[in-house]
């Protein structure tokens, strides 16, 4: 069992070392140019292939999970969001699902007390939801902040975001909240996998790997910004080179940066082949993105085919005598 997290941890560490040492050994062009390009291509192609693959599969039935009162009689109040019958209801349901993780918000924790009452109790379990939300939004903010390295002059929305993220105005360079929240959330999610018996049991190496990888990315980034204070001008020259498709390897780019960039590249390349594709899947999940109106509006199954059935005529042929005797109506009297 320990392999499940030790191997991913070791893998991330080795990846870090490879890039760090490689950059030192003059392979900067590989870790700084070739691999990032390959990774972005792998990400884009892989992502598109995966989503197209899902989209190619049919949606034969309209089977939303209904989580509230259906639309029925006019005087019964429908839950338009959790049991939508219109596209707008579905849209809101999806917005809440995608941006606020609504289903996860419902999470409860069950406990069983072997006492006289033998009660199973359910308590609201908000921490997973909080950590998941914190993780995803902090990650998003970090990602968007990095557009500073890909726009020149730096777009005003990036500056605005930085100002918001650095609102506590602590230290120099100023502390970004996302830089605290992201690793903290990752550590919480990791701790859950390690110490909650149920989650530990279901966790795979592929659950630990992205967590360690993202932690590695965050830590290398934090280290560069707050501690080693890398040559930011050189890095920007390099990242602008990448984004304008005229890559260069300026002098003075820290090895640590290559390691950071390499881990990011690994994340991109790994993304489409992994569970991280839930990013794309959540939009397409048929139990959430469909209206519960199959009785009102016919859903067509593209591969519907005729099946043999036992017809009334066959049934009557089988039971005619008994039916006549019992006084049941029949089509043919003999």
């Amino acid at each position: 069992m320990t392999q499940k997290y030790l191997i991913p941890l070791t893998a991330v560490f080795l990846l870090f070392l490879v890039a760090y040492a490689g950059a030192g050994a003059g392979l900067g062009w590989f870790f700084g140019i070739v691999f990032p390009y390959l990774a972005v291509i792998a990400f884009l192609v892989g992502f598109v292939i995966k989503v197209m693959g899902w989209a190619r599969s049919a949606v034969p039935f309209r089977i939303p999970t209904t989580c509230g009162q259906q639309k029925s009689l006019p005087w019964i109040k429908q839950n338009r969001i959790d049991n939508p019958d219109t596209a707008s209801g579905v849209f809101i349901r999806m917005l809440l699902e995608i941006f606020l993780f609504r289903s996860l918000f419902r999470n409860t924790k069950a406990a069983f007390n072997r006492t006289a009452s033998n009660r199973i109790t359910y308590s609201w379990e908000i921490f997973l939801w909080v950590a998941a939300l914190a993780f995803h939004y902090a990650f998003l903010v970090v990602l968007l902040r990095h557009f500073r390295f890909f726009t020149s002059p730096v777009s005003s929305w990036v500056q605005f975001l930085e100002a918001l993220d650095g609102i506590v105005q602590l230290g120099l360079p100023g502390l970004f909240l996302s830089g605290v929240v992201l690793p903290a959330a990752v550590l919480f999610l990791l701790a859950r996998r390690l110490f909650d018996q149920k989650v530990r049991y279901i966790s795979q190496a592929s659950d630990y790997f992205p967590l360690f990888l993202i932690l590695g990315i965050a830590l290398t980034g934090i280290f560069m910004r707050y501690f080693t204070k890398v040559d930011i001008t050189a890095i920007k020259e390099m990242t602008m080179g990448l984004v304008t498709l005229s890559p260069t390897i300026p002098d003075g780019v820290a090895n640590l940066f290559y390691a950071h960039l390499f881990l990011v590249s690994i994340l991109f390349a790994y993304f489409p082949a992994s569970k991280l594709m839930h990013l794309g899947g959540v939009f397409l999940s048929p139990t959430r993105n469909m209206a519960n109106n199959t009785r009102a509006k016919r859903h067509v199954n593209p591969w519907n085919y005729d099946v043999p059935i036992h017809t009334y005529e066959q049934y009557e042929d089988h039971f005619r005598d008994k039916m006549i005797e019992a006084g049941l109506p029949v089509e043919k009297k003999e």
Binding site: I120, H299, I309
Partner: protein, 549 residues
């Protein structure tokens, strides 16, 4: 059964702390154990519909008598379904194993068996999918230890047996799906899993035989047409004894307004029979007062659909009868009785599979004029919707006091709750026919309702330990309201519930009766010309009519 566990023994076994082993191993602990599995399908039942690999076999024996190329059959079956069902493909790919579903399953809560966590039930299939259908899986196969590291498994006989064991420990209740951030629906995965198992003839008899019966005799219980009529006439006699009114129903009447279809369980066994009497009383009332013309059919005498627990194709083959019969009889629309999975099929599958129902009219209640807009395409209305509408318009004369001895709580059945959303209609009806109604705790009702533990074809006798374990969360909630409010009646709109919950109550919460919604209606409804009633439909004294000792 002497080897049956007592409630205390069962409770002693519950432990949510899971062991430290690796679930990829098909260890001894998951070997098929009496009390937890259902008997294998009889060959003659599998043959009726021409389904594959009919033979007699025994799950506890080593040899399952599979075809030589069984792995290829399953592999091709998975491949085909990945293309036919986007649900299946996405659900195989996107699970992040966050564990939110883990303690939502009644079978996990009742057994503590980690493989009853919905995520792991799905992983049984997913581990094979990852191994055989993903690029990463194919690469990992070549690296020593790669398969295990990736959580991937080749499809071995043990893996297949494990799938069989656990896909028949899922009642397709969808509770986990409510909590999943990606809407992963274990019911859908179990449906796929069972469909695949059926390609090898690996059904259970409690599903296969009802399916076979339903196909040829028109209902799961194999009640032949004359016997079906006899049984309803027997109820008519009882009702006449109680009320003095003749409620004789019509059968196969061409040109009737409405075809009524309900699960045959209501015709066959207590306490469903009392619900059935409730329907008869309601239809008699509506005929007498408003001239409503309702017909039953012995051909389409099954609302339930165990084909749903076999494969999509089998579901379609059984469901087809409803429209077929409605068309033959020339009725205006169809009314459906109280049943759980029946309504999931009608609400989410029927029109797509066997429609369009262009030979029927958009359902209108001729008595109230209400047009059932929500059923305008499928043209089938749920009887709770129908009765709620009648009550709302003041069309029913009701005497609540006849149910005054009933302290009622309502069990939302899984499928109507999470595959339809019929939550407030039955509650409205209950509150109009009963004085005392109390809800169970919020985490156990409506969309968070707990399964009876016997759904999706698992209501057999031989798997009683599984059923009682699975029923524990529901029973605990019933016990809570029983102790707090003195609830003595567990009302439900599902025929499987009416068959399964009495056993649950007897085991976990004695002194609580299971009662159908329309039994309560039948008790309260004042029939034109009825005599003064002294007994309820169970022939027990009405409140105030108890004999003085």
């Amino acid at each position: 059964m002497a080897d049956e566990l007592t409630p205390d023994e069962l409770l002693d076994k519950i432990d949510y702390g899971t062991d430290s082993g690796n679930w990829l191993d098909t260890t001894k602990s998951v070997q098929i154990r009496p009390g937890m599995y259902c008997y294998a399908a009889k060959p003659e039942s599998v043959e009726t519909l021409g389904l594959p690999n009919a033979r007699s076999w025994n799950p506890t024996e080593e040899d399952w008598k599979l075809p030589d190329n069984w792995q290829q059959i399953i592999h091709d079956g998975i491949k085909e379904r990945l293309e036919k069902f986007r649900t299946f493909k996405i659900f195989m790919d996107v699970c992040v194993r966050c564990g939110a579903c883990a303690d939502k399953c009644h079978f996990f809560l009742g057994t503590g068996d980690p493989k009853n966590m919905p995520v792991l039930r799905a992983e049984l299939l997913r581990s094979v999918y990852r191994n055989d259908f993903t690029t990463a899986g194919k690469i990992l196969q070549k690296i020593p230890g790669g398969q295990r590291l990736g959580g991937n498994r080749p499809l071995t006989l043990d893996v297949l047996k494990e799938m069989w064991y656990y896909f028949f420990q899922c009642t397709e209740c969808r509770r986990c799906s409510v909590f999943c951030p990606y809407g992963i629906d274990t019911a859908e995965i179990t449906i796929m899993g069972r469909e695949l198992l059926n390609l090898l003839g690996l059904n259970i008899d409690w599903i296969a035989t009802p399916v076979s019966n339903c196909y040829t005799t028109g209902n799961h219980l194999g009640i032949q047409p004359h016997a079906f009529k006899d049984m309803l006439e027997f109820f008519v006699e009882d009702i006449e004894d109680i009320t003095g009114v003749d409620c004789t129903p019509q059968f196969q009447k061409k040109g009737a307004d409405i075809l009524f279809v309900t699960p045959s369980g209501d015709v066959f066994a207590d306490p469903g029979t009392y619900t059935c009497q409730g329907y008869l009383i309601l239809f008699q009332y509506l005929k007498e007062k408003y001239g409503l013309d309702v017909t039953w059919s012995t051909y389409a005498s099954e609302g339930g659909n165990f084909g749903f627990f076999t494969s999509h194709e089998t579901m379609k083959r059984l469901n087809a009868k409803m429209y077929y019969e409605a068309k033959r009889l020339g009725v205006k629309w169809i009314l459906g009785g109280e049943c759980g999975h029946m309504w999931r099929v009608i609400n989410q599958y029927m029109d797509t599979m066997n429609g369009p129902a262009d030979f029927l009219e958009v359902p209108v209640n001729p008595i109230t004029g209400t047009k059932f807009e929500n059923a305008k395409s499928t043209k089938m209305v749920h009887i709770a919707e129908f009765t709620a509408d009648l009550i709302k318009h003041g069309k029913l004369e009701l005497d609540k006091s006849r149910n005054a001895n009933r302290i009622v709580t309502f069990h939302d059945s899984c499928n109507p709750a999470r595959g339809m959303g019929i939550l407030d209609e039955p509650r409205y009806v209950i509150q109009n026919v009963c004085d005392h109604f109390y809800e169970m705790p919020p985490n156990t009702i409506r969309e968070q309702t707990f399964c009876c533990g016997s759904g999706a074809g698992l209501n057999a006798g031989e798997n009683i330990e599984l059923r009682m374990a699975g029923a524990l969360p529901r029973a605990t909630a019933v016990k809570y309201v029983h102790e707090k409010f003195g609830v003595n009646s567990l009302c439900t709109i599902c025929a499987i519930d009416r068959a399964a919950l009495p056993t649950m109550c007897e085991y976990w919460v004695p002194e609580v009766d299971v009662i159908g919604l329309h039994e309560l209606v039948g008790n309260a409804l004042i029939l034109p010309g009825e005599k003064e009633r002294t007994e309820d439909l169970r022939m027990e004294p009405l409140p105030g009519c108890e004999e003085e000792e």
